[in-house]
């Protein structure tokens, strides 16, 4: 009889390496490397200063040790902090100038960069190692007033926005990995939605690690001005390698009055092999600030890849009546480890937050939910509802739930529920007695377990997520 965890067994289709000449910084980290990265990008002075400030702070910091994931000490001097495909001239202006090898890579990944081949509704910024290689539908977005493109480009074209918002949600001194990122970040996406604009299409960034021994340190900044709306998607893959690679990104979201940001992630970095060799360390700081009243930030994440996932997409609910949401499915198979969750900080009045977290641990996977709900003194009538469920498949996996509820205002209503269960013999027997094969039964049960989260994903992503999880999605097309 097949084992239930077999439904997660799929070959990692994105494990290939693109043979391309890359322009790299020398191995190691010191101030000259930071100056090198900054010079490569021809950055204004304020940004270099900011990077150096972050680096100096980072040097004083200690690596955290409270997490529930184990990994050998990272040698930060053994990482290549900048690696970009060689270009004939500065910055590609049209697709024709991009290396054909790169175009083929993205095609292989299922992300064709030619606009006519794309889903009409999604604009893509493609980040390859340390740089953004192309952004689609830029013109069309410009018509609507939306600024979308690589971070480096935005530094040149809209330095005033960068200076104003960079580090306004995740300061350069925030935590060990955020400081490291602030010092050496190379590229990422920048997005600004002007007042009252509903972004005409979904925006997305596709992150690809290709070069060996590099780390990817991208930075994403999304600003939704008053009354605007944007849905942003993020996907990522990396080649199969025996050596671990570090990915330490920072994502900052700012939602002004009545603005809405919906941020979806499908994280499918290489997870390492069945014995736990190789894979990406995904140590990311993601945080959104609901600055204006009535604003809303919603995080949805499907975490299936990475050897280690360690992140807490959070929302600071500053504006009155603002809303924060966190929907997450985290799958840890084989030797994968995840310590993920969220922080909801209620500051404004009548703020509301919802947390739905589904953890699946199979074989020897370790899955941890860690979350904080803090209601500050002034956050009258704050409401939070959290639900954290774990599904265990196999005798050697583990599931942990560590919620922190800190309430300083009596009018707050905070509720947390958690369950842990396995796919029971009875459930399988029930399905078998109705003629449903075991494989389909397990797929159905897993799909039901994740449903609350998947239904929050945009369609293209929902389809991909279900494929990744080896389940079928109810009511989906195709």
């Amino acid at each position: 009889m097949p084992k239930p965890e077999n439904i997660f067994d799929q070959e990692y289709k994105y494990g290939f390496v693109t043979k391309i000449e890359e322009d790299q910084a020398p191995r190691g980290l010191h101030e000259d490397i930071i100056r090198f990265i900054s010079a490569k990008k021809k950055e204004p002075k304020f940004l270099l200063e900011w990077r150096l400030k972050a680096y100096r702070r980072w040097l004083q910091m200690k690596e955290p040790a409270w997490q529930n994931v184990r990994f050998p000490k990272i040698n930060y001097q053994d990482i290549i902090y900048y690696s970009a495909p060689k270009q004939k001239k500065d910055g590609p202006t049209s697709l024709n100038e991009i290396d054909q090898e790169l175009l083929r890579t993205y095609e292989k990944l299922g992300i064709p960069l030619e606009e006519q081949k794309r889903f009409a509704g999604v604009a893509v910024d493609a980040v390859f190692d340390s740089v953004s290689v192309a952004t689609t539908f830029k013109e069309k977005l410009k018509e609507a007033g939306v600024i979308f493109g690589s971070f480096s480009e935005a530094v040149h074209e809209h330095p005033e926005l960068i200076e104003k918002y960079l580090g306004s949600v995740v300061p350069y001194s925030d935590n060990f990995f955020a400081s490291l990122n602030s010092a050496v970040f190379s590229d990422g996406s920048f997005c600004y939605i002007p007042k009252g604009v509903r972004c005409p299409m979904e925006l997305s960034t596709y992150f690809r690690i290709n070069a060996a021994d590099t780390g990817q340190f991208e930075r994403t900044l999304i600003i939704a001005d008053e009354g605007s709306y944007v849905s942003y998607l993020e996907g990522c893959t990396a080649p199969v390698r025996d050596k671990n690679q570090l990915h330490a990104a920072v994502v900052e979201l700012v939602a002004h009055k009545n603005a809405q940001i919906k941020y979806s992630t499908i994280q499918n970095w290489y997870a390492g092999d069945a014995e736990g060799r190789g894979g990406i360390y995904n140590f990311v700081t993601k945080r959104g600030k609901c600055e204006g009243s009535g604003s809303k930030i919603s995080w949805t994440q499907v975490e299936t890849g990475s050897a280690i996932t360690w992140k807490y997409p959070s929302v600071i609910l500053m504006g009155d009546n603002s809303v924060g949401e966190f929907y997450s499915v985290a799958l840890t198979n084989h030797m994968q480890q995840a310590d993920t969750g969220t922080k909801m900080i209620h500051i404004g009045r009548n703020t509301k937050s919802t947390i739905i977290s589904k953890g699946i641990a199979a074989r020897r996977g370790s899955n941890t939910y860690r979350g904080l709900v803090r209601v500050m003194k002034g956050a009258a009538n704050a409401k939070n509802y959290s639900q954290c469920d774990s599904l265990l498949i196999g005798e050697r996996c583990s599931a942990n739930t560590f919620p922190y509820l800190e309430v300083d205002n009596k009018t707050a209503k905070v509720e947390h529920e958690a369950t842990t269960s396995k796919i029971s013999e009875e459930q399988l027997f029930y399905c078998a007695s109705r003629g449903i094969s075991q494989e389909n039964a397990i797929s159905m049960i897993v799909s039901g377990f994740c449903k609350q989260v998947f239904k929050n994903l945009p369609m293209e992503f929902a389809v991909e997520a279900t494929k990744l999880m080896g389940v079928s999605l109810e009511g989906s097309v195709g």
């Binding site: 925030d174 060990f176 774990s390 265990l392 942990n400 739930t401 560590f402 309430v407 009596k410 369950t419």
Partner: protein, 458 residues
């Protein structure tokens, strides 16, 4: 947002300095106490060695700070902002039994005043054959092999500061031993009375050690009460070890009504053998800072525990319940229900960890913590935790923090009830779903009475 430096608090440098200073001061205080104790007591060598080991361990680890995950919500600095003298320094005044308001229950009674055993106040007649309930110090003097064996199991290196301090400095406490297959029908009541003696300047720190051994197939109800005759400052540092042999069953009540100025740090370690059953009810009403550590060790198949707790804090009280349920073997059951009412500027903390180890299949673990905030200045922090390493288990937890339901208040008001009365009634209702489950009637009545009085005073 609080500015941060290296992930620590910005005022860290200062608190660390302050805490270092305090630790030095304290260590002088405690090592003096320790030296006096060693000089006074004529104890067997192994115990002196163990005490010494514990003292060294305490000096090594120092006081816990809020930087430590286990002490995140409880600041122990106020406890150590003065020096203490040991319990033995106190002369004992006679106490009028009526002041203890014990009611008319004919329970077996073991009484300690300021940490010292009081023979006059205790009542231990008609004890079933073989049942031992006596002063621990006395038992040690007479030589009780089972007791010695239990104390020898202590590992100071694994204790926290309070546990180590307790082991180094304990004077007395209760020793209870229920022999195999013996059922004790009448509850065994251990009372710790704090009483201000006229001349004392420095507050007293009592290090109380209780040891309870329940033989195979035995059954007993044990009540420990902490109360004070006056409102004054003192510090009770309590450690309780419970060992349940296969099939033993213990109903344990912890009734904490310390003085509102006092400090109460209690830690209980319960070890359950096969099919043993441990039911506990913890009531925390007194003390300015109180902490209850409860560590359940389900070390054999089929062990069952049911843990209930209620805390009601007002003024500037702080109450912290810290539970750890360690499911080591299959088919264990654990249930936790803790409810808190927080009024005034009070703060309540709850932390409960359920650990289900690899191989502890078919464990059924449940945990609920609910908090009611009655005032604008009250605060609740809760941290329920599940750590699961086996797949065929059932584990759930739930936590909630909220206030009284406005619709319910409105309903009662529409029936002509005054608002304050409606609130009192609903608060009482919040508590009573737990209180009603308490099987020992006198404890239940007493709680009802205390709740009503407190709510009426509001």
């Amino acid at each position: 947002m609080t500015p941060t430096l290296n992930g620590n608090r910005w005022d860290d440098t200062w608190t660390k300095l302050e805490s270092n200073f305090m630790t030095t001061m304290l260590q002088t205080n405690f090592s003096k106490m320790f030296q006096t104790l060693l000089a006074q007591k004529n104890e067997p060598g192994w115990l002196t060695a163990l005490r010494r080991e514990a003292m060294e361990s305490f000096e090594l680890i120092g006081l816990p700070t809020q930087e430590e995950e286990d002490w995140r919500y409880t600041n122990v600095q106020p406890i150590f902002s003065q020096e203490y003298q040991p319990e033995s320094a106190r002369t004992q005044d006679p106490i009028d039994m009526n002041r203890l308001e014990l009611g008319n229950y004919q329970w077996h009674r073991l009484v300690f005043v300021n940490g010292n055993f009081s023979k006059e106040l205790s009542s231990l007649e008609n004890m079933p054959k073989g049942v031992v309930i006596q002063s621990l110090a006395q038992a040690l003097q007479e030589g009780a092999p089972a007791l010695e064996a239990q104390i020898k199991k202590s590992t100071p290196a694994q204790m926290n500061a309070f546990g180590a301090l307790n082991l180094a400095l304990f004077q007395d406490g209760a020793f209870i031993h229920i022999p195999e297959k013996t059922k004790v029908e009448i509850p065994l009541h251990v009372l710790f009375v704090s009483h201000r003696c006229g001349s004392a300047h420095e507050p007293v720190m009592a290090n109380v050690k209780n040891i309870i051994l329940a033989g195979a197939g035995s059954a007993a109800t044990i009540v420990t009460s902490f109360l004070s005759l006056e409102d004054f400052l003192y510090f009770n540092n309590v450690s309780t070890d419970v060992f349940l042999a296969p099939g033993a069953s213990v109903d344990f009540y912890d009734d904490q009504k310390e003085s509102i100025q006092a400090f109460h740090m209690a830690s209980a370690k319960v070890h359950l053998e096969k099919d043993a059953r441990f039911h506990s009810t913890s009531v925390a009403l007194g003390a300015s800072i109180s902490r209850n550590d409860l560590h359940l060790d389900l070390d054999a198949e089929g062990a069952v525990c049911d843990l209930k707790g209620i805390y009601f804090a007002t003024g500037y009280q702080h109450v912290d319940n810290h539970l750890f349920i360690d499911h080591k073997k299959p088919r264990g059951t654990s249930k936790q229900l803790y409810k808190g009412i927080l009024d005034g500027h009070a703060s309540g903390a709850f932390s409960g960890k359920i650990l289900i180890r690899e191989g502890a299949q078919q464990t059924d673990a449940e945990q609920v913590n609910k908090n009611l905030l009655l005032s604008d200045f009250a605060k609740a922090d809760t941290k329920p935790q599940l750590e699961i390493f086996a797949d065929d288990v059932k584990a759930t937890h739930g936590a909630a923090i909220g206030q009284l339901n406005e619709e319910e208040i409105f309903y009662l008001r529409s029936r002509g009830m005054r608002e304050d009365n409606a609130c009192s009634l609903l608060t009482f209702g919040f508590a009573s779903d737990l209180v009603e489950k308490i099987t020992l009637a006198p404890i239940r009545w007493e709680l009802d009475r205390v709740f009503w009085t407190r709510l009426q005073e509001k």
